[in-house]
């Protein structure tokens, strides 16, 4: 018996070492890949992303021209989420009726009609989940793999549907969540899918093998957003429990950050060490992995609304960050998308400019190359019908950017 205990202890030691050793091994592999591809002169497969290698002097950023904003309509109900394919060619969007539309972005050659709807998967009526090909409830979140092959969508019926992005054909269905699926994200470079739900759990799935991997617990309230990058860890925002949690999947542990006062509604990773989140008290916070409180907090980022003596801040319904740069965008229903610049090593958040856009900005995504930002606009908030902006149109707006965003101060922040 003593011998077996020793063996078990030795095995445990081995198992404990593996995450760190695994990280080391993967990092070495990645460096090898980069070196090889660097020799060939091709960019890595979705790797590195928008590595803005020239920080340079920060040129004064001209605000985007409102006339150059392209509005693509097609959904009947407010848009809840959208994703841009990694090659910046297609945009997938989903709405409250469960419909999913794939349209293409402008091509410089002008051969293919820009803004054309390539695939439309209509939403089904309530109760037709068995027969219908698409979703029969509000689609709350979407994610696309880093090579653009798989698209995953999650809805209020606790289902995650996996589609083939090129043909919009449904491949798999993942069941297992016990409440609406509110966040989805692929790990860049792999086919591992993270999903977050209103049942306060985070689940890990492997799409290539159509398998469920594990569940992670910890949130005390519904999870409102999820994001991940190249590392095997994801970050979630926990609504009213006021925490942002970073989940380290190989070590099965979580890091807990808190500091927002309202319900944290949206979160995005800027790079592997920093993230930005927005709350329903109008505050936007920048976080670093080393500090449990936000590095910087901007209150009432979109102003206040309401009667003279009862001013309420506009809820921040969407945040987006240009990968590995210092540009952050926030959206609300205040009538504009606000662009911000992170300075002093993410310790300060300065407003850059406002892009006028009427309606609820339910989703914001930057393109991988940093050329444009796409906003999903709806007449209602993506999670409910507290207000209705009649002047708005349920559409996708593509806002071209002329800003040359730079890496904020230290280049170390841009590396994995």
């Amino acid at each position: 018996a003593a011998g077996r205990r020793e063996e078990a202890a030795a095995e445990e030691e081995e198992v404990e070492e593996t995450p760190q050793e695994k990280k080391l091994r993967l990092a070495k592999l990645y460096l090898e890949q980069l070196r090889r591809h660097g020799e060939h002169g091709q960019p890595g497969p979705g790797g590195g992303g928008a590595v803005r290698a020239q920080p340079g002097p920060d040129a004064p950023c001209p605000p985007p021209d409102p006339a150059s904003i392209r509005v693509l309509r097609g959904h009947q109900q407010p848009i809840t989420c959208l994703v841009i394919s990694p090659d910046d060619k297609f945009i997938f969007s989903a709405a409250k009726d469960g419909s999913i539309i794939k349209c293409n972005v402008a091509c410089p050659t002008g051969e293919v009609e820009s803004g054309k709807r390539l695939c439309v998967v209509p939403g089904g009526k309530k109760g037709t989940e068995g027969q219908h090909m698409g979703h029969a409830a509000h689609v709350l979140c979407m994610a696309i793999s880093s090579d653009g092959k798989y698209l995953a969508t999650g809805d209020r019926n606790k289902l995650i549907l996996v589609w083939e992005a090129a043909t919009c054909k449904r491949l798999y269905t993942f069941t297992g969540h016990r409440d609406a699926v509110s966040g989805l994200s692929f790990q860049k470079g792999t086919y591992q899918l993270y999903s977050a739900s209103h049942d306060r759990s985070v689940k890990v799935w492997n799409v290539a093998e159509n398998a469920y991997v594990e569940t992670l617990f910890g949130h005390q309230d519904v999870i409102t957003g999820l994001d991940s990058l190249r590392r095997e860890c994801c970050v979630t925002s926990g609504g009213r429990d006021g925490t942002v949690r970073v989940w380290k999947i190989p070590e099965e542990s979580q890091l807990i950050f808190y500091g927002h006062q309202g319900s944290i509604d949206c979160i995005q990773l800027i790079n592997e060490e920093h993230m930005v989140s927005g709350a329903d008290d109008g505050s936007v916070a920048l976080w670093g992995l080393a500090k449990k409180k936000p590095l910087t907090l901007v209150r009432q980022s979109h102003g206040t609304q309401g009667a003279h003596d009862l001013q309420q801040p506009y809820w921040v319904s969407a945040v987006a960050a240009l990968h590995n740069s210092d540009l952050v965008a926030t959206g609300s229903h205040s009538g504009s998308v606000r662009l911000w610049k992170c300075s002093e090593g993410f310790r300060k958040l300065e407003p850059l400019c406002d892009v006028p856009l009427v309606g609820f900005i339910n989703s914001l995504k930057f393109s991988a190359g940093g050329d444009f930002v796409v906003a999903g606009v709806g007449q209602e908030h993506r999670l409910g019908r507290w207000w209705r902006v009649k002047e708005a149109k349920n559409s996708i707006c593509i806002i071209p950017l002329k800003c040359r965003a730079g890496a904020p101060g230290s280049l170390a922040a841009a590396t994995t």
Binding site: L216, F217, E252, I256, A290, K292
Partner: protein
């Protein structure tokens, strides 16, 4: 403390991600209600009967009014049950009044005794202190004097004799124990 430990408190908390969160969880911290008994609370201060009587003397008028109300109700009432209840209530009120008056008389007697002793001490004689039984005897003497004045002495003494007789009869050996 070394600098390393000072900065450790700024880092995020790391916890296991595998423990399921219980269904019932504390969302808002609920403060426990602190139960205070004003009789034993230091905040209420010390009990001084004189000050108490003075500050709450307005209650006597209210008690009198209530007694009159109940007497009127008793006259009007037809229901036997309710009549019984009202009668009990009336008795309770009268008895409470009498108890108050008795206590008041005790306090007055104490005060007069103290005054007496102070006089004696002033005059130079040694002050004497009465036992409780002696004080009760004084009270009894006063009671008899009061009864004599109102003329109810005979009836009171008769009732007392009857009560004593019944008690003594109980103590006699009964037929069973022969």
């Amino acid at each position: 403390a070394p600098l390393k430990y000072v900065f450790l408190s700024f880092r995020p908390v790391e916890m296991s991600a595998k423990k399921p969160v219980p269904f019932l969880r504390q969302v808002v911290s609920v403060t426990k209600k602190v139960h205070r008994d004003p009789r034993f609370d230091d905040l209420s201060g010390e009990y001084n009967p004189e000050i108490f009587m003075k500050t709450y003397s307005f209650l006597d008028a209210i008690k009198k009014q209530e007694k009159e109300m109940i007497q009127k109700q008793l006259k009007k009432c037809r229901n036997m049950e309710q009549k019984e209840k009202l009668q009990q209530l009336l008795n309770r009120m009268t008895q409470q009044e009498q108890a108050q008056k008795k206590q008041q008389k005790w306090r007055e007697r104490e005060l007069s005794l103290k005054r007496q002793q102070r006089e004696l001490a002033k005059q130079g004689k040694k002050p004497f202190f009465l036992k409780k039984s002696e004080k009760r005897k004084l009270e009894l003497a006063e009671k008899y004097a009061e009864l004599k004045r109102s003329g109810k002495l005979e009836s009171f003494l008769n009732k007392k004799r009857k009560r004593n007789a019944i008690k003594d009869k109980r103590r006699l050996p009964s037929q069973k124990n022969l």
